[in-house]
Subunit: 348 residues, 2 copies
């Protein structure tokens, strides 16, 4: 089959590799229909995190089960399934609490040369990991199929930020970042959690306009001076819930600055570019800086219901769709900021 | 009257100054009976934070109301009162939520030349700030009087760490630090909140022994190699609640390392000596790093009840008692680690 292989900074290639095979009775083999490129893939692409040549890339995919190990009972060949961005057993203490990212038998796509930007994937712990797509998605438009691909990571990540920040129905939340995750956080806040005041902060006018379409009630350009003061004024003292969806120093500092005393800043991106956390304002204001690596698996069913009912359309975060054989163009487009997020059409 | 005055690093002096007078109808004048020296006073004493010569020191005191402004109704001359380490109006949004450290009309002792290591203090917002001592304390032993002085800051700070870390009755909490605040956190966890497993971590065998007397079920010497692994083993994956009561890099890193996925690290000290927060483990484990500057005012009544009932004896964190005119010796003793915490006897 074809799979995307890392060779070095700004060098990923689609290559022929061995087809995946079942190894454990808990495995399944899934033929990928849609995959995606994640903002976090840019860390290794840009050489900021170190990978080994030969590693496989991609951790977001939707596909059809081709083969299931003999102890797999929740999915069967022919099922369309959605995979969260880590795999998990579904039975350990942490999975039962909805914290599948800390599963004691879990792991990451890409480990063991098993990436998702490929024609097929071996899925360990298939029962704990895969979610069967709703019939409306199976029989629905390509559009719904794209929304399903957004349920692997980006939409649950935005949603987890909103939930982790303890956003209240009818309350206020500020979302720092207008990338794909920030936009999904706006969707979650406005359409899933039902916050009344959703403040989007970014630096791209087109994306901020999209944030308004997604339900933001206010949009601030972070390049304008004095926006922290404006937000403190608007909220009369800060937002009780803040989602930090950029992952750099400036955005983390702004998030802490606009947090209300007693509030929570949930940070949803790997904090690779944050040198110094704003511990002092957090201390003085009794604010929690809450790490929020999304346990996507625990949200997929709920978010899929919203997709099917039409209350959210996360497919709109994909602004470039390419066939798998143009995966390298997809990386380049995201690296050069020509695309927010790329959807890869692998098969039908 | 006599008051302690800052002149520079390692230079505080007891001097004659003007007696405080009422300025606002909401003020009270309190004659100090007991004051204390706080671990946080060592920041300016050691020259790490910058103060102006002439500033007054001290933010912990118990005393007798001498005069009350005409709009003060909750205390009257002759009352023995306990003052939290900040003053607050008791009526704003944050005070009503029990977050008096963020009071919109609040302030700090020491501001405006009004420190607590003195014979008398002007108390702004007296109704919102002062707590009348229980009759058992008014008529009780010097011992209870000392416990009352521990309710100004150190005991509520330890307790707030335990509460902010979301320690559960019957649950597990790890407390990093065996100073006065860490020991009070142990007391709170074991005797107020009722945690079943209280893990104390420090580096002073005598203080760790005191922690055991206060209710710690386990004590670890942080100088021993491999204690993080031991605690992870003991807790089978980390403590859901961790109190960071030191405020340096090593203790913050250890706190994050031993936190259970989904748990909370509450940090109760000013993070002046933490250069880099452990954001990555917090992100990966969905751990909150929660700032926890204690709103002491909101806990004094509850903790005083425990003192009167005998379930806690926070007077034991004072291991050196001096008259006010030896305040400079008190600073020196704490600076050189000859004392954990100094009680100043000012009057009776």
């Amino acid at each position: 089959m074809k799979a995307t292989v890392y060779h070095g900074a700004r060098d990923v290639r689609l290559e022929s590799v061995d087809d995946p095979v079942l190894r454990e009775p808990t495995d399944a083999i899934v033929r990928v229909t849609r995959a995606a490129i994640c903002g976090s893939d840019l860390w290794f692409y840009r050489g900021i995190t170190q990978w080994d040549p030969g590693d496989r890339t991609g951790h977001e995919f939707v596909g059809i089960v081709e083969e299931a190990g003999k102890s797999v009972s929740s999915v069967a060949p022919g099922d369309l399934v959605i995979a969260p961005f880590v795999w998990s057993d579904g039975t350990c203490e942490f999975c039962k609490k909805g914290l599948q990212t800390s599963c004691v038998h879990g792991g990451n796509w890409g480990d063991d040369r098993n990436g998702a930007q490929a024609e097929a994937v071996r899925v360990p712990q298939a029962d704990g990991t895969l979610v069967k797509a709703a019939p409306e998605i199976v029989h629905g438009s390509p559009h719904l199929h794209a929304s399903a691909a957004a349920l692997c990571d980006v939409m649950p990540t935005g949603h987890h930020g909103v939930v982790s920040a303890q956003t209240q129905r009818g309350g206020t939340v500020a979302i720092v970042g207008d990338g794909a995750v920030g936009l999904c956080a706006v969707l979650s806040a406005a359409r899933v959690v039902g916050a009344e005041r959703v403040i989007a902060i970014g630096h791209n006018p087109k994306r901020l306009a999209r944030a308004r379409e997604f339900g933001a009630t206010h949009a601030f350009d972070s390049h304008e001076p004095g926006i922290a003061e404006e937000i403190l004024e608007l909220t009369r003292g800060g937002s009780p819930a803040v989602v930090e969806a950029v992952g750099n120093q400036e955005s983390m500092d702004l998030a802490a600055e606009i947090a209300r005393p007693g509030g929570t800043v949930a940070f949803v991106g790997a904090p690779n570019a944050i040198d110094k956390a704003p511990l002092r304002p957090a201390f003085v204001k009794n604010v929690a800086l809450r790490g929020a690596l999304a346990p996507a698996r625990s949200y997929i069913d709920e978010l899929m219901r919203h997709v099917v009912e039409g209350s959210i359309d996360p497919s709109r975060v994909f602004d470039l769709t390419l066939p798998l054989d143009r995966v390298t163009d997809g990386y380049e487009a995201m690296d050069r900021r020509r695309a927010i997020k790329v959807l890869l059409e692998v098969s039908n």
